[in-house]
Protein backbone atom coordinates (compact mmCIF):
# COMPACT_ATOMS: atom_id res chain seq x y z
CA UNK A 1 0.00 0.00 0.00
CA UNK A 2 1.34 3.36 -1.00
CA UNK A 3 0.60 6.04 1.53
CA UNK A 4 2.31 8.72 -0.50
CA UNK A 5 5.13 8.99 1.99
CA UNK A 6 7.75 8.64 -0.71
CA UNK A 7 7.72 12.11 -2.22
CA UNK A 8 9.80 12.58 -5.32
CA UNK A 9 11.16 15.99 -6.22
CA UNK A 10 10.50 17.35 -9.68
CA UNK A 11 14.18 17.30 -10.59
CA UNK A 12 14.40 13.63 -9.66
CA UNK A 13 11.36 12.85 -11.78
CA UNK A 14 12.77 14.72 -14.76
CA UNK A 15 16.11 13.01 -14.38
CA UNK A 16 14.39 9.64 -14.20
CA UNK A 17 12.34 10.30 -17.33
CA UNK A 18 15.40 11.43 -19.27
CA UNK A 19 17.34 8.36 -18.14
CA UNK A 20 14.58 6.00 -19.27
CA UNK A 21 14.23 7.71 -22.63
CA UNK A 22 17.98 7.55 -23.23
CA UNK A 23 18.12 3.88 -22.25
CA UNK A 24 15.17 2.94 -24.45
CA UNK A 25 16.82 4.76 -27.33
CA UNK A 26 20.01 2.77 -26.81
CA UNK A 27 18.08 -0.49 -26.48
CA UNK A 28 15.68 -0.09 -29.40
CA UNK A 29 17.20 2.28 -31.92
CA UNK A 30 19.61 -0.28 -33.47
CA UNK A 31 16.64 -2.49 -34.34
CA UNK A 32 14.55 0.36 -35.72
CA UNK A 33 17.51 1.54 -37.76
CA UNK A 34 18.16 -1.93 -39.20
CA UNK A 35 14.48 -2.34 -40.05
CA UNK A 36 14.50 1.03 -41.82
CA UNK A 37 17.74 0.29 -43.63
CA UNK A 38 16.58 -3.10 -44.88
CA UNK A 39 14.31 -1.33 -47.37
CA UNK A 40 17.21 0.59 -48.92
CA UNK A 41 19.92 -0.44 -51.32
CA UNK A 42 23.40 -1.14 -50.09
CA UNK A 43 24.88 2.15 -51.27
CA UNK A 44 22.46 3.96 -48.98
CA UNK A 45 22.54 1.84 -45.83
CA UNK A 46 26.32 1.46 -45.98
CA UNK A 47 27.11 4.79 -47.46
CA UNK A 48 30.71 5.76 -47.87
CA UNK A 49 30.05 9.36 -48.74
CA UNK A 50 27.17 10.51 -46.59
CA UNK A 51 25.19 8.71 -43.91
CA UNK A 52 22.20 10.97 -44.63
CA UNK A 53 21.65 8.92 -47.82
CA UNK A 54 20.19 6.21 -45.62
CA UNK A 55 17.37 8.58 -44.74
CA UNK A 56 16.93 10.48 -47.98
CA UNK A 57 17.25 7.25 -50.01
CA UNK A 58 19.43 8.94 -52.63
CA UNK A 59 20.78 5.79 -54.29
CA UNK A 60 17.62 3.77 -53.74
CA UNK A 61 15.78 6.33 -55.89
CA UNK A 62 18.36 6.05 -58.65
CA UNK A 63 18.60 2.27 -58.60
CA UNK A 64 14.99 1.28 -58.12
CA UNK A 65 12.89 4.35 -58.75
CA UNK A 66 11.24 4.33 -55.33
CA UNK A 67 12.17 5.44 -51.86
CA UNK A 68 11.71 1.95 -50.47
CA UNK A 69 12.64 -1.34 -52.04
CA UNK A 70 11.96 -4.90 -51.04
CA UNK A 71 14.64 -6.26 -53.35
CA UNK A 72 16.84 -7.40 -50.51
CA UNK A 73 14.00 -9.46 -49.07
CA UNK A 74 12.84 -11.06 -52.31
CA UNK A 75 16.41 -11.91 -53.32
CA UNK A 76 17.39 -13.35 -49.97
CA UNK A 77 14.27 -15.47 -49.72
CA UNK A 78 14.50 -16.86 -53.26
CA UNK A 79 18.09 -16.72 -54.52
CA UNK A 80 19.61 -16.81 -51.06
CA UNK A 81 17.37 -19.76 -50.16
CA UNK A 82 16.37 -18.17 -46.91
CA UNK A 83 13.03 -19.98 -47.21
CA UNK A 84 14.88 -23.24 -46.77
CA UNK A 85 16.64 -21.92 -43.68
CA UNK A 86 13.37 -20.74 -42.15
CA UNK A 87 11.74 -24.07 -42.91
CA UNK A 88 14.62 -25.80 -41.10
CA UNK A 89 14.34 -23.39 -38.19
CA UNK A 90 10.62 -24.12 -37.86
CA UNK A 91 11.23 -27.89 -37.88
CA UNK A 92 14.04 -27.66 -35.33
CA UNK A 93 12.12 -25.30 -33.07
CA UNK A 94 8.89 -27.34 -33.01
CA UNK A 95 10.68 -30.59 -32.24
CA UNK A 96 13.06 -29.11 -29.68
CA UNK A 97 10.24 -27.39 -27.78
CA UNK A 98 7.93 -30.40 -27.65
CA UNK A 99 10.59 -32.97 -26.81
CA UNK A 100 12.29 -30.86 -24.17
CA UNK A 101 8.99 -30.04 -22.50
CA UNK A 102 8.04 -33.72 -22.46
CA UNK A 103 11.35 -34.80 -20.91
CA UNK A 104 11.61 -31.74 -18.69
CA UNK A 105 8.18 -31.95 -17.07
CA UNK A 106 8.66 -35.64 -16.21
CA UNK A 107 12.12 -35.08 -14.74
CA UNK A 108 11.30 -31.87 -12.90
CA UNK A 109 8.15 -33.38 -11.41
CA UNK A 110 10.18 -36.28 -10.04
CA UNK A 111 12.82 -33.90 -8.66
CA UNK A 112 10.25 -31.70 -6.96
CA UNK A 113 8.46 -34.65 -5.32
CA UNK A 114 11.53 -36.53 -4.11
CA UNK A 115 12.81 -35.97 -0.60
CA UNK A 116 16.05 -37.89 -1.11
CA UNK A 117 19.54 -36.44 -1.21
CA UNK A 118 20.18 -37.56 -4.75
CA UNK A 119 17.50 -35.16 -6.04
CA UNK A 120 19.55 -32.28 -4.63
CA UNK A 121 22.77 -33.59 -6.20
CA UNK A 122 21.05 -34.08 -9.56
CA UNK A 123 19.99 -30.43 -9.48
CA UNK A 124 23.55 -29.36 -8.70
CA UNK A 125 24.81 -31.54 -11.54
CA UNK A 126 22.30 -29.86 -13.85
CA UNK A 127 23.66 -26.47 -12.74
CA UNK A 128 27.20 -27.58 -13.62
CA UNK A 129 25.99 -28.83 -17.01
CA UNK A 130 24.24 -25.50 -17.52
CA UNK A 131 27.60 -23.74 -17.10
CA UNK A 132 29.36 -25.70 -19.85
CA UNK A 133 30.06 -23.49 -22.86
CA UNK A 134 28.22 -24.99 -25.82
CA UNK A 135 31.28 -24.87 -28.04
CA UNK A 136 33.19 -27.22 -25.73
CA UNK A 137 30.35 -29.73 -26.01
CA UNK A 138 30.32 -29.33 -29.80
CA UNK A 139 34.04 -30.12 -29.91
CA UNK A 140 33.13 -33.34 -28.14
CA UNK A 141 30.31 -34.16 -30.57
CA UNK A 142 31.98 -33.60 -33.90
CA UNK A 143 34.34 -36.55 -33.97
CA UNK A 144 31.87 -39.25 -32.77
CA UNK A 145 29.18 -37.84 -35.07
CA UNK A 146 31.51 -38.01 -38.07
CA UNK A 147 32.38 -41.60 -37.18
CA UNK A 148 28.73 -42.61 -36.74
CA UNK A 149 27.85 -40.69 -39.91
CA UNK A 150 25.04 -38.78 -38.26
CA UNK A 151 26.66 -35.37 -38.77
CA UNK A 152 24.84 -32.70 -40.74
CA UNK A 153 21.25 -33.86 -40.43
CA UNK A 154 18.41 -32.18 -38.54
CA UNK A 155 17.48 -35.00 -36.09
CA UNK A 156 20.98 -35.01 -34.56
CA UNK A 157 20.84 -31.27 -34.01
CA UNK A 158 17.37 -31.53 -32.49
CA UNK A 159 18.47 -34.16 -29.98
CA UNK A 160 21.59 -32.18 -29.10
CA UNK A 161 19.64 -28.96 -28.57
CA UNK A 162 17.10 -30.81 -26.42
CA UNK A 163 19.89 -32.17 -24.23
CA UNK A 164 21.68 -28.82 -23.95
CA UNK A 165 18.38 -27.26 -23.00
CA UNK A 166 17.50 -29.80 -20.31
CA UNK A 167 19.41 -28.34 -17.33
CA UNK A 168 17.74 -24.95 -17.61
CA UNK A 169 14.29 -26.45 -18.30
CA UNK A 170 14.68 -28.73 -15.29
CA UNK A 171 15.55 -25.84 -12.97
CA UNK A 172 12.75 -23.68 -14.27
CA UNK A 173 10.04 -26.35 -14.11
CA UNK A 174 11.37 -27.56 -10.76
CA UNK A 175 10.72 -24.16 -9.21
CA UNK A 176 7.24 -24.10 -10.76
CA UNK A 177 6.36 -27.63 -9.56
CA UNK A 178 7.49 -26.64 -6.06
CA UNK A 179 4.65 -24.11 -5.94
CA UNK A 180 2.03 -26.81 -6.59
CA UNK A 181 1.02 -28.14 -3.14
CA UNK A 182 1.93 -31.74 -2.36
CA UNK A 183 -1.53 -32.35 -0.85
CA UNK A 184 -2.89 -32.38 -4.39
CA UNK A 185 -0.72 -35.38 -5.31
CA UNK A 186 -1.32 -37.14 -2.05
CA UNK A 187 -5.11 -37.01 -2.30
CA UNK A 188 -4.94 -38.35 -5.85
CA UNK A 189 -2.59 -41.16 -4.78
CA UNK A 190 -4.92 -42.11 -1.93
CA UNK A 191 -7.81 -42.21 -4.41
CA UNK A 192 -5.91 -44.90 -6.27
CA UNK A 193 -4.14 -42.98 -9.04
CA UNK A 194 -0.71 -44.20 -10.07
CA UNK A 195 2.13 -41.66 -10.02
CA UNK A 196 1.89 -41.24 -13.76
CA UNK A 197 -1.88 -40.76 -13.66
CA UNK A 198 -1.47 -38.17 -10.91
CA UNK A 199 1.11 -36.37 -12.99
CA UNK A 200 -0.95 -36.54 -16.16
CA UNK A 201 -4.44 -35.73 -14.86
CA UNK A 202 -3.93 -33.77 -11.64
CA UNK A 203 -0.66 -31.87 -11.80
CA UNK A 204 -0.24 -31.02 -15.50
CA UNK A 205 -3.61 -29.20 -15.78
CA UNK A 206 -2.55 -26.69 -13.10
CA UNK A 207 0.99 -26.39 -14.51
CA UNK A 208 0.21 -24.64 -17.79
CA UNK A 209 1.75 -21.25 -16.88
CA UNK A 210 5.03 -22.96 -15.99
CA UNK A 211 4.96 -25.13 -19.10
CA UNK A 212 4.35 -22.12 -21.34
CA UNK A 213 7.26 -20.27 -19.75
CA UNK A 214 9.61 -23.24 -20.12
CA UNK A 215 8.39 -23.72 -23.70
CA UNK A 216 9.17 -20.10 -24.54
CA UNK A 217 12.72 -20.44 -23.27
CA UNK A 218 13.28 -23.68 -25.21
CA UNK A 219 11.91 -21.93 -28.25
CA UNK A 220 14.27 -18.99 -27.84
CA UNK A 221 17.24 -21.32 -27.39
CA UNK A 222 16.42 -23.42 -30.45
CA UNK A 223 15.53 -20.42 -32.58
CA UNK A 224 18.56 -18.37 -31.60
CA UNK A 225 21.23 -21.04 -31.50
CA UNK A 226 24.33 -20.42 -33.56
CA UNK A 227 27.11 -22.54 -32.06
CA UNK A 228 25.43 -25.93 -32.43
CA UNK A 229 23.57 -25.36 -35.69
CA UNK A 230 26.53 -23.77 -37.45
CA UNK A 231 28.87 -26.64 -36.67
CA UNK A 232 26.55 -29.66 -36.64
CA UNK A 233 24.48 -28.98 -39.76
CA UNK A 234 25.65 -29.16 -43.35
CA UNK A 235 25.13 -26.28 -45.76
CA UNK A 236 21.85 -27.73 -47.03
CA UNK A 237 20.27 -28.00 -43.58
CA UNK A 238 21.40 -24.68 -42.11
CA UNK A 239 18.91 -22.84 -39.95
CA UNK A 240 18.40 -19.07 -40.05
CA UNK A 241 21.23 -17.84 -37.82
CA UNK A 242 24.08 -19.75 -39.53
CA UNK A 243 22.52 -18.78 -42.86
CA UNK A 244 22.79 -15.10 -41.94
CA UNK A 245 26.43 -15.64 -41.07
CA UNK A 246 27.05 -17.33 -44.42
CA UNK A 247 25.70 -14.24 -46.23
CA UNK A 248 28.36 -12.14 -44.57
CA UNK A 249 31.13 -13.93 -46.40
CA UNK A 250 34.70 -14.02 -45.26
CA UNK A 251 35.33 -10.46 -46.34
CA UNK A 252 32.65 -7.91 -45.70
CA UNK A 253 32.87 -6.49 -49.19
CA UNK A 254 32.14 -9.79 -50.81
CA UNK A 255 28.96 -11.64 -49.98
CA UNK A 256 25.64 -9.96 -50.21
CA UNK A 257 25.44 -7.69 -47.22
CA UNK A 258 21.90 -6.49 -47.85
CA UNK A 259 20.70 -10.10 -47.84
CA UNK A 260 22.08 -10.39 -44.33
CA UNK A 261 20.35 -7.15 -43.29
CA UNK A 262 16.97 -8.26 -44.61
CA UNK A 263 17.32 -11.76 -43.16
CA UNK A 264 18.20 -10.31 -39.78
CA UNK A 265 14.90 -8.42 -39.89
CA UNK A 266 13.01 -11.49 -41.14
CA UNK A 267 14.47 -13.64 -38.38
CA UNK A 268 13.96 -11.12 -35.57
CA UNK A 269 10.41 -10.00 -36.35
CA UNK A 270 8.61 -13.25 -35.34
CA UNK A 271 10.62 -13.34 -32.13
CA UNK A 272 9.63 -9.78 -31.20
CA UNK A 273 5.95 -10.47 -31.90
CA UNK A 274 6.13 -13.58 -29.76
CA UNK A 275 7.76 -11.70 -26.90
CA UNK A 276 5.18 -8.94 -27.15
CA UNK A 277 2.43 -11.50 -26.48
CA UNK A 278 4.24 -13.58 -23.88
CA UNK A 279 6.22 -10.88 -22.06
CA UNK A 280 4.62 -11.72 -18.71
CA UNK A 281 5.58 -15.41 -18.97
CA UNK A 282 9.17 -14.64 -19.91
CA UNK A 283 9.63 -12.32 -16.97
CA UNK A 284 8.05 -14.77 -14.55
CA UNK A 285 10.35 -17.47 -15.93
CA UNK A 286 13.50 -15.45 -15.49
CA UNK A 287 12.56 -14.60 -11.94
CA UNK A 288 11.26 -18.01 -10.90
CA UNK A 289 14.75 -19.45 -10.73
CA UNK A 290 16.17 -16.42 -9.02
CA UNK A 291 13.72 -15.68 -6.27
CA UNK A 292 12.48 -19.08 -5.26
CA UNK A 293 15.53 -21.18 -6.09
Amino acid sequence: MDYGLDKKTTSLKTFNTIFIIVWLLIACFPFIWTFWGSFKVRADFFSRSDWWYAISAFNTLIETGGKFTTNAYSQAWTEGEFWKASKNTIIVTIFVVSISLFLGTLGAYALSRSTRNYAFWLLILALIFRAMPHITLVSGYLFPFFELQIWGILPTTIVVLVAINQPFTLWLLYSFFKTVPRELDESALIDGCSYFQTFRHIIMPVMWPGVITAGLFSLMLAYNDFTVTALLLNQENHTMVPKIQSYLGTNQHEGNLMWAVSSVVSATAPLFILVMFFQRQIISGLTAGAIKG
Partner: protein, 342 residues
Protein backbone atom coordinates in the same frame (compact mmCIF):
# COMPACT_ATOMS: atom_id res chain seq x y z
CA UNK B 1 8.26 -40.65 -4.19
CA UNK B 2 9.67 -44.21 -4.25
CA UNK B 3 13.09 -44.65 -5.83
CA UNK B 4 11.73 -46.81 -8.62
CA UNK B 5 9.11 -44.30 -9.72
CA UNK B 6 11.69 -41.54 -9.50
CA UNK B 7 13.99 -43.53 -11.72
CA UNK B 8 11.42 -43.99 -14.51
CA UNK B 9 10.34 -40.35 -14.36
CA UNK B 10 13.90 -39.09 -14.47
CA UNK B 11 15.28 -41.62 -16.96
CA UNK B 12 14.50 -39.78 -20.24
CA UNK B 13 15.96 -36.42 -19.23
CA UNK B 14 18.83 -38.09 -17.37
CA UNK B 15 19.68 -40.19 -20.40
CA UNK B 16 19.62 -37.14 -22.67
CA UNK B 17 21.96 -35.25 -20.34
CA UNK B 18 24.37 -38.16 -19.87
CA UNK B 19 24.53 -38.98 -23.60
CA UNK B 20 24.83 -35.44 -24.90
CA UNK B 21 26.46 -33.48 -22.10
CA UNK B 22 28.29 -36.02 -19.93
CA UNK B 23 29.75 -38.23 -22.66
CA UNK B 24 30.85 -35.34 -24.90
CA UNK B 25 32.87 -33.94 -22.00
CA UNK B 26 34.58 -37.34 -21.64
CA UNK B 27 35.01 -37.57 -25.41
CA UNK B 28 36.60 -34.10 -25.39
CA UNK B 29 38.96 -35.29 -22.68
CA UNK B 30 40.04 -38.32 -24.72
CA UNK B 31 40.40 -36.34 -27.94
CA UNK B 32 42.63 -33.81 -26.22
CA UNK B 33 45.33 -36.51 -25.84
CA UNK B 34 45.45 -37.18 -29.57
CA UNK B 35 46.75 -35.07 -32.42
CA UNK B 36 46.09 -35.27 -36.12
CA UNK B 37 48.46 -37.46 -38.16
CA UNK B 38 51.43 -35.92 -39.86
CA UNK B 39 51.33 -36.02 -43.59
CA UNK B 40 53.37 -38.86 -45.03
CA UNK B 41 55.94 -37.71 -47.52
CA UNK B 42 57.75 -39.67 -50.13
CA UNK B 43 60.65 -38.99 -52.37
CA UNK B 44 59.90 -38.83 -56.03
CA UNK B 45 62.66 -39.17 -58.54
CA UNK B 46 62.10 -37.31 -61.74
CA UNK B 47 64.36 -37.90 -64.67
CA UNK B 48 64.58 -35.96 -67.85
CA UNK B 49 67.29 -35.70 -70.50
CA UNK B 50 69.22 -33.21 -68.36
CA UNK B 51 69.52 -35.42 -65.34
CA UNK B 52 67.53 -36.61 -62.33
CA UNK B 53 66.07 -34.53 -59.50
CA UNK B 54 64.65 -35.81 -56.25
CA UNK B 55 61.69 -33.91 -54.82
CA UNK B 56 59.63 -34.51 -51.73
CA UNK B 57 55.87 -34.63 -52.13
CA UNK B 58 52.94 -35.53 -49.89
CA UNK B 59 51.79 -39.09 -50.32
CA UNK B 60 48.04 -38.56 -50.30
CA UNK B 61 47.19 -42.22 -50.60
CA UNK B 62 49.25 -43.28 -47.60
CA UNK B 63 48.10 -40.28 -45.56
CA UNK B 64 44.42 -41.01 -46.08
CA UNK B 65 45.05 -44.71 -45.41
CA UNK B 66 46.55 -44.02 -42.02
CA UNK B 67 43.81 -41.49 -41.28
CA UNK B 68 41.19 -44.10 -41.97
CA UNK B 69 42.91 -46.72 -39.88
CA UNK B 70 43.26 -44.44 -36.87
CA UNK B 71 40.69 -41.65 -37.27
CA UNK B 72 41.35 -40.25 -33.80
CA UNK B 73 44.91 -39.40 -34.76
CA UNK B 74 48.17 -40.29 -33.07
CA UNK B 75 48.53 -40.40 -29.32
CA UNK B 76 50.10 -37.21 -28.11
CA UNK B 77 49.70 -37.32 -24.32
CA UNK B 78 49.93 -33.87 -22.85
CA UNK B 79 51.76 -32.71 -25.97
CA UNK B 80 48.84 -30.69 -27.24
CA UNK B 81 48.41 -28.98 -23.88
CA UNK B 82 52.00 -27.81 -23.76
CA UNK B 83 52.48 -26.86 -27.41
CA UNK B 84 52.83 -23.33 -28.72
CA UNK B 85 49.11 -22.86 -29.35
CA UNK B 86 48.08 -23.78 -25.82
CA UNK B 87 50.07 -23.44 -22.60
CA UNK B 88 53.31 -22.92 -24.53
CA UNK B 89 55.56 -24.17 -21.74
CA UNK B 90 58.79 -24.13 -23.77
CA UNK B 91 58.16 -20.68 -25.20
CA UNK B 92 57.50 -19.23 -21.76
CA UNK B 93 60.71 -20.75 -20.42
CA UNK B 94 62.58 -19.28 -23.36
CA UNK B 95 61.04 -15.85 -22.89
CA UNK B 96 61.82 -15.96 -19.18
CA UNK B 97 65.48 -16.64 -19.88
CA UNK B 98 65.85 -14.25 -22.77
CA UNK B 99 63.88 -11.16 -21.88
CA UNK B 100 65.39 -8.60 -19.56
CA UNK B 101 62.46 -6.84 -17.96
CA UNK B 102 59.21 -8.21 -16.57
CA UNK B 103 57.13 -6.04 -18.86
CA UNK B 104 58.93 -7.38 -21.93
CA UNK B 105 58.30 -10.90 -20.68
CA UNK B 106 54.59 -10.22 -20.16
CA UNK B 107 54.47 -8.61 -23.58
CA UNK B 108 55.90 -11.73 -25.18
CA UNK B 109 53.64 -14.11 -23.27
CA UNK B 110 50.46 -12.19 -24.05
CA UNK B 111 51.23 -12.55 -27.74
CA UNK B 112 50.86 -16.31 -27.55
CA UNK B 113 47.42 -17.34 -28.87
CA UNK B 114 46.10 -19.08 -25.75
CA UNK B 115 47.15 -16.36 -23.32
CA UNK B 116 45.90 -13.66 -25.66
CA UNK B 117 42.47 -15.31 -25.72
CA UNK B 118 42.51 -15.93 -21.97
CA UNK B 119 43.29 -12.28 -21.28
CA UNK B 120 40.53 -11.07 -23.57
CA UNK B 121 38.01 -13.46 -22.02
CA UNK B 122 38.93 -12.39 -18.49
CA UNK B 123 38.93 -8.68 -19.38
CA UNK B 124 35.52 -9.09 -20.95
CA UNK B 125 34.15 -10.84 -17.83
CA UNK B 126 35.78 -8.31 -15.52
CA UNK B 127 34.31 -5.27 -17.25
CA UNK B 128 30.96 -6.61 -18.38
CA UNK B 129 29.73 -8.39 -15.25
CA UNK B 130 29.87 -5.47 -12.74
CA UNK B 131 28.54 -2.98 -15.26
CA UNK B 132 25.66 -5.30 -16.14
CA UNK B 133 24.75 -5.54 -12.46
CA UNK B 134 24.97 -1.78 -12.01
CA UNK B 135 23.09 -0.77 -15.15
CA UNK B 136 20.45 -3.45 -14.63
CA UNK B 137 19.86 -2.25 -11.09
CA UNK B 138 19.60 1.41 -12.10
CA UNK B 139 17.14 0.61 -14.90
CA UNK B 140 15.07 -1.51 -12.52
CA UNK B 141 14.99 1.29 -9.93
CA UNK B 142 14.03 3.91 -12.44
CA UNK B 143 11.36 1.82 -14.19
CA UNK B 144 9.98 0.94 -10.78
CA UNK B 145 9.35 4.64 -10.21
CA UNK B 146 7.23 5.30 -13.30
CA UNK B 147 3.46 4.93 -13.48
CA UNK B 148 2.26 1.34 -13.58
CA UNK B 149 0.20 1.85 -16.74
CA UNK B 150 3.09 2.58 -19.08
CA UNK B 151 5.50 0.03 -17.59
CA UNK B 152 4.48 -2.79 -19.97
CA UNK B 153 5.72 -1.20 -23.22
CA UNK B 154 8.79 0.18 -21.43
CA UNK B 155 9.73 -3.30 -20.22
CA UNK B 156 9.21 -4.67 -23.73
CA UNK B 157 11.60 -2.09 -25.14
CA UNK B 158 14.12 -2.80 -22.41
CA UNK B 159 14.33 -6.55 -22.92
CA UNK B 160 14.76 -6.42 -26.71
CA UNK B 161 18.60 -6.58 -26.65
CA UNK B 162 18.40 -9.74 -24.56
CA UNK B 163 16.01 -11.79 -26.69
CA UNK B 164 17.86 -11.54 -29.98
CA UNK B 165 20.67 -13.99 -30.51
CA UNK B 166 24.14 -12.53 -29.80
CA UNK B 167 25.17 -12.86 -33.45
CA UNK B 168 22.21 -10.78 -34.65
CA UNK B 169 22.59 -8.31 -31.80
CA UNK B 170 26.24 -7.69 -32.54
CA UNK B 171 25.60 -7.45 -36.30
CA UNK B 172 22.91 -4.84 -35.77
CA UNK B 173 25.30 -2.75 -33.68
CA UNK B 174 28.23 -3.39 -36.00
CA UNK B 175 26.32 -2.09 -39.02
CA UNK B 176 25.84 1.21 -37.16
CA UNK B 177 29.33 1.51 -35.69
CA UNK B 178 31.23 0.45 -38.80
CA UNK B 179 32.96 3.17 -40.77
CA UNK B 180 30.09 3.22 -43.28
CA UNK B 181 27.33 3.13 -40.68
CA UNK B 182 25.47 6.01 -39.12
CA UNK B 183 27.48 6.29 -35.90
CA UNK B 184 30.87 5.37 -37.33
CA UNK B 185 30.62 7.85 -40.21
CA UNK B 186 29.59 10.65 -37.88
CA UNK B 187 32.42 9.97 -35.47
CA UNK B 188 34.82 10.12 -38.42
CA UNK B 189 33.41 13.51 -39.40
CA UNK B 190 33.49 14.73 -35.83
CA UNK B 191 37.08 13.70 -35.22
CA UNK B 192 38.05 14.73 -38.73
CA UNK B 193 39.90 11.47 -39.26
CA UNK B 194 38.77 9.49 -42.30
CA UNK B 195 40.83 6.46 -41.27
CA UNK B 196 39.32 6.11 -37.82
CA UNK B 197 37.46 2.83 -37.75
CA UNK B 198 36.66 -0.05 -35.50
CA UNK B 199 39.07 -2.40 -37.18
CA UNK B 200 42.03 -0.07 -37.08
CA UNK B 201 42.48 -0.16 -33.33
CA UNK B 202 42.66 -3.05 -30.91
CA UNK B 203 41.55 -0.95 -27.95
CA UNK B 204 38.52 0.36 -29.85
CA UNK B 205 37.50 -3.17 -30.80
CA UNK B 206 37.76 -4.35 -27.21
CA UNK B 207 35.76 -1.39 -25.94
CA UNK B 208 33.07 -1.97 -28.57
CA UNK B 209 32.70 -5.65 -27.70
CA UNK B 210 32.55 -4.83 -24.00
CA UNK B 211 29.88 -2.18 -24.62
CA UNK B 212 27.99 -4.71 -26.71
CA UNK B 213 28.21 -7.19 -23.80
CA UNK B 214 26.78 -4.68 -21.36
CA UNK B 215 24.02 -3.79 -23.84
CA UNK B 216 23.13 -7.43 -24.37
CA UNK B 217 23.21 -8.65 -20.76
CA UNK B 218 21.81 -5.70 -18.79
CA UNK B 219 18.16 -6.52 -19.63
CA UNK B 220 18.56 -9.90 -17.93
CA UNK B 221 19.85 -8.27 -14.75
CA UNK B 222 17.08 -5.70 -15.05
CA UNK B 223 14.30 -8.30 -15.27
CA UNK B 224 15.51 -10.21 -12.23
CA UNK B 225 16.14 -7.08 -10.14
CA UNK B 226 12.81 -5.60 -11.17
CA UNK B 227 10.96 -8.68 -9.97
CA UNK B 228 12.98 -8.70 -6.77
CA UNK B 229 12.14 -5.04 -6.14
CA UNK B 230 8.45 -5.96 -6.15
CA UNK B 231 9.04 -8.19 -3.14
CA UNK B 232 10.75 -5.53 -0.98
CA UNK B 233 8.47 -5.00 2.05
CA UNK B 234 7.05 -1.49 2.25
CA UNK B 235 6.93 -1.09 6.06
CA UNK B 236 10.67 -0.78 6.72
CA UNK B 237 10.99 1.61 3.78
CA UNK B 238 8.23 3.81 5.18
CA UNK B 239 9.73 3.68 8.66
CA UNK B 240 13.03 4.80 7.16
CA UNK B 241 11.34 7.70 5.37
CA UNK B 242 9.76 8.86 8.65
CA UNK B 243 13.15 8.56 10.35
CA UNK B 244 14.50 10.88 7.69
CA UNK B 245 16.64 8.50 5.66
CA UNK B 246 17.67 9.83 2.28
CA UNK B 247 16.83 7.95 -0.92
CA UNK B 248 20.38 6.69 -1.22
CA UNK B 249 20.42 5.50 2.40
CA UNK B 250 17.13 3.65 1.91
CA UNK B 251 18.53 1.81 -1.10
CA UNK B 252 21.78 1.01 0.62
CA UNK B 253 20.41 -0.19 3.95
CA UNK B 254 17.01 -1.68 3.09
CA UNK B 255 16.63 -2.51 -0.59
CA UNK B 256 20.10 -3.90 -1.29
CA UNK B 257 20.27 -6.24 1.73
CA UNK B 258 16.82 -7.55 0.80
CA UNK B 259 17.72 -8.43 -2.78
CA UNK B 260 21.28 -9.56 -2.00
CA UNK B 261 20.71 -13.28 -2.81
CA UNK B 262 19.34 -12.30 -6.20
CA UNK B 263 22.40 -10.16 -6.88
CA UNK B 264 24.71 -13.12 -6.36
CA UNK B 265 22.48 -15.23 -8.61
CA UNK B 266 22.65 -12.68 -11.43
CA UNK B 267 26.38 -12.22 -10.96
CA UNK B 268 26.95 -15.96 -11.21
CA UNK B 269 24.78 -16.46 -14.29
CA UNK B 270 26.26 -13.52 -16.17
CA UNK B 271 29.79 -14.54 -15.22
CA UNK B 272 29.12 -18.01 -16.67
CA UNK B 273 27.62 -16.54 -19.83
CA UNK B 274 30.34 -13.94 -20.28
CA UNK B 275 33.06 -16.55 -19.96
CA UNK B 276 31.79 -18.23 -23.12
CA UNK B 277 31.81 -14.99 -25.17
CA UNK B 278 32.17 -15.97 -28.82
CA UNK B 279 29.42 -14.84 -31.18
CA UNK B 280 30.07 -11.07 -30.89
CA UNK B 281 33.60 -11.68 -32.16
CA UNK B 282 32.12 -13.12 -35.34
CA UNK B 283 29.40 -10.47 -35.53
CA UNK B 284 31.88 -7.59 -35.23
CA UNK B 285 34.37 -9.48 -37.44
CA UNK B 286 36.91 -8.75 -34.76
CA UNK B 287 38.95 -11.94 -35.11
CA UNK B 288 42.04 -9.90 -35.83
CA UNK B 289 42.27 -8.07 -32.56
CA UNK B 290 40.05 -9.92 -30.11
CA UNK B 291 39.98 -13.65 -29.60
CA UNK B 292 38.28 -15.52 -26.81
CA UNK B 293 38.76 -19.08 -25.61
CA UNK B 294 35.50 -20.18 -27.25
CA UNK B 295 36.53 -18.52 -30.48
CA UNK B 296 39.82 -20.47 -30.48
CA UNK B 297 37.85 -23.72 -30.26
CA UNK B 298 35.52 -22.61 -33.05
CA UNK B 299 38.48 -21.63 -35.20
CA UNK B 300 40.05 -25.09 -34.77
CA UNK B 301 36.77 -26.79 -35.61
CA UNK B 302 36.16 -24.86 -38.84
CA UNK B 303 39.76 -25.29 -40.01
CA UNK B 304 39.67 -25.88 -43.73
CA UNK B 305 42.31 -28.56 -44.27
CA UNK B 306 42.03 -30.88 -41.31
CA UNK B 307 39.74 -30.30 -38.35
CA UNK B 308 42.05 -29.90 -35.38
CA UNK B 309 40.10 -32.09 -32.97
CA UNK B 310 42.97 -32.47 -30.53
CA UNK B 311 43.74 -28.79 -30.34
CA UNK B 312 40.07 -27.82 -29.96
CA UNK B 313 39.60 -30.47 -27.28
CA UNK B 314 42.61 -29.28 -25.28
CA UNK B 315 41.32 -25.70 -25.30
CA UNK B 316 37.86 -27.00 -24.36
CA UNK B 317 39.21 -28.88 -21.37
CA UNK B 318 41.06 -25.80 -20.18
CA UNK B 319 37.90 -23.72 -20.64
CA UNK B 320 35.99 -26.23 -18.53
CA UNK B 321 38.71 -25.96 -15.86
CA UNK B 322 38.24 -22.18 -15.96
CA UNK B 323 34.48 -22.57 -15.49
CA UNK B 324 35.10 -24.95 -12.61
CA UNK B 325 37.32 -22.37 -10.90
CA UNK B 326 34.59 -19.75 -11.34
CA UNK B 327 31.89 -22.07 -10.02
CA UNK B 328 33.87 -23.57 -7.13
CA UNK B 329 33.01 -20.91 -4.49
CA UNK B 330 29.29 -21.23 -5.23
CA UNK B 331 29.36 -25.01 -5.13
CA UNK B 332 31.27 -25.06 -1.87
CA UNK B 333 28.79 -22.63 -0.32
CA UNK B 334 25.80 -24.66 -1.52
CA UNK B 335 27.35 -27.82 -0.12
CA UNK B 336 27.91 -26.19 3.29
CA UNK B 337 24.34 -24.89 3.37
CA UNK B 338 23.09 -28.32 2.38
CA UNK B 339 25.05 -30.00 5.20
CA UNK B 340 23.71 -27.52 7.73
CA UNK B 341 20.18 -28.01 6.45
CA UNK B 342 20.50 -31.74 7.03
Amino acid sequence: MPNKTFFWFFLPTGLAMILFIGLPIISTGIQSFYAQHDQIVKEVKKCDPFGCTVSIVVDNEETSKIREAKPLGKFNGFGTYTDRNHLAVDEIKKFWNETESVSAFIDQVTNLPFYKALIFTLTYCLFVTPNVLLLGFIIALSLNAVARKIRGPLIFGTILPMIVTPLVGSLVLFWMIDSQGIIGANIQNLMNDPYLSLKSSKTLTWITIIIYGIWHHSPFAFVVFYAALQTVPQEPVEAAIIDGASRFQRIKHIVLPHIYPVVTFVALISLMDNFRVFEPIIGFSAEGSAQSLSWLIYDNLVNEEVILFGSAAATSIMTIVGIAILLAPVLIRTWKEFRIAR
